[in-house]
Assembly symmetry: none
Homo-oligomer: 216 residues x 2
């Protein structure tokens, strides 16, 4: 086998996995990562009320003082919040050009904003997307011909831009939506979390897994 992308450690024995198994592993890790984050959150909520000095964890290794330095890379996954300085720049750019900046422009902006705090291109991208979408919505909420118009008009304008015959039909059949149970569960209990270990649902997006050095 060649060591094209997977650097071979000297041509020694290797394991071969199917893509399926590969995906399985990735998913598994994603599940754990997600569960861990949620558990951490739950724990924070609880420990805010009482301190568990006497917890018996039964694992002596966990007392390792080296790990004491709190590294909040995974556990504190909270959403990005633009700094005032960053926001100002963003607003300024937005004002100049109402359109979402191109890919290269995003990079530049990110680079600039990075001087004022942690930020990623995705953050910038999302910000412009949201900013634009919301400013548009707010505008259309004020301008439209105030309310009471003919009901007939409504019927006419009902989703008619499509030209393709086959399309998403809003009719979601009469099937009970029980299958949706794990799509973006808002808040769940320990039991649900543990259950997730066997039935992964909505987890950390696959493209974000690299942060864990999955295949480093």
């Amino acid at each position: 086998m060649e060591d094209g992308k997977f650097q071979n450690g000297g041509g020694l024995g290797v394991k071969v996995m199917t893509d399926e198994q590969m995906e399985m592993l990735r998913k598994q890790i994603s599940v754990y990562a997600t569960i861990c984050e949620q558990l951490v959150e739950m724990h924070k909520g609880l420990s805010a009320h009482q301190d568990f000095a006497g917890m018996r964890l039964g694992n002596p290794y966990f007392c390792d003082p080296l790990l004491s330095s709190s590294v909040h890379k995974i556990g504190s996954r909270q959403r990005w919040t633009p700094k005032p300085a960053q926001l100002e720049i963003l607003e300024q750019i937005f004002k100049q050009c109402n359109a979402t900046p191109g890919r290269q422009k995003i990079k530049d902006i990110t680079k600039e904003l990075a001087q004022h705090g942690q930020i990623s291109e995705t953050n910038v991208y999302n910000w412009f997307q949201n900013r634009r979408a919301r400013s548009k919505r707010k505008q259309s909420a004020v301008l439209p011909n105030s309310g009471e118009s003919e009901v007939e008009t409504e019927i006419e304008s009902f989703k008619e831009k499509k030209t393709k015959p086959e399309d998403s039909q809003p009719d979601e059949d009469a099937t009970p939506v029980s299958d949706h149970m794990y799509l973006h569960s808002p808040d769940i209990g320990i039991d649900q979390l543990v259950g997730k270990m066997e039935s992964p649902g909505s987890c950390i997006p696959y493209w974000q897994l690299e942060q864990y050095d999955l295949f480093g």
Copy 2:
């Protein structure tokens, strides 16, 4: 355990990993598994004194996990949402050939997925388009807010106040981590656990992980 678990699935695309990389993956999962168990234990210990099945009890969705995230008016769905079963199949197909399937292939896939819920060929097509585009992007550092590498040297001693009032977000550079938790726990705190994610130590032996269906 049987070695058959690493059977090659019919000679289809396979990934090749070195033993080193394999070990890395195992270790990674071990870390998560261990942390999860520890966290669950901690949580149980805490919630034993405090009936607290979940956080934010006020959340209306929490009442019934089955209805979570699908709280919409009966006919309000306007865009297709893949069922977990469908997603699994799609992901599986995607990893086999991360190129957009041909016209006929789309038909077949659609037919298969239709057994799990309403779906159209357009849905399938779009899904692959998006999946591919977004996996390609996979930009860097999607997860902001890491350690405070940003010392925020630029104190807002100058007029940097936003033009928008709601942006008066409190400056966080002075507040490392909330001190209202893990005051003096002799054993371990969340921070140590989280730190483990990056510096794995002693974890659950990987051969004991099968209970989670590690390799399907």
